[in-house]
Point group: C2
Chain length 129, copies 2
């Protein structure tokens, strides 16, 4: 694979880049995560989002446990070349580990964070082995 | 102002939170930037986005030079309480300092970053004093 395009990204000192994932069609922003060089290359190769888990310090093939993979429609880069935007098709319609469509499930209303969307699936169901 | 809601945010060690700005209606993601506590409080108070510029190390009232302010429609928080999503109405239709609607103006096509949108206004026009 030609990987010249990877060199154009301004990686952090830790070798990461922030990634915004947005549902194709609706435009709903469903997730924010990080990728390293390897995970972004794998994302392009496989056509499904692979992130870098900073908490687990390893590759995180989105949906590896829950089955909720993200099929990548396109990959965009910002003006400073240090943020990636993914348009994705969220398999299962659930991006959040809480069982919701989007991780952004709280909206500020009158100085309070108020839930804006429902749990579609019990996380206990999503992550059972 | 009641600021309890600010305490629920998991700020970075530097006291910042990443912010995604998305055009209301179209869902176009136009920008990614950072806020500190003060800038987020000012954003809510004023109804227009105020960021924290890491390069200039100061408050950055979006549009202070270009006039391209961002009217805030709503503010959402993610499951880990460490990322903010703003739905905004972009004044002037230009969020990017390059004169484009969105900072995400390049799409990966056949291993190359290809421009996906046009310059709407010459930056020299936007930033002249």
């Amino acid at each position: 694979m030609n990987t010249t395009w990877l060199n154009e990204i301004q990686w952090t000192a830790d070798g990461l880049v922030p990634v915004i994932a947005q549902q194709a069609g609706t435009g709903r922003v469903v997730m924010f995560a990080w990728m390293n060089r390897e995970s972004l290359a794998l994302t392009v190769e496989n056509g499904y989002a692979v992130y870098w888990s900073r908490s687990r310090n390893r590759l995180w093939r989105k949906g590896e446990e829950s089955g909720n993979q993200q099929k990548v429609i396109n990959i965009q880069l910002d003006c400073d070349e240090d943020v990636i935007l993914l348009e994705i098709e969220q398999q299962g319609g659930i991006a959040c580990h809480t069982g919701r469509e989007s991780c952004f499930y709280r909206t500020l209303e009158n100085n309070e964070w108020v839930e804006n969307s429902a749990v579609l699936k019990d996380p206990a169901e999503m992550y059972k082995k």
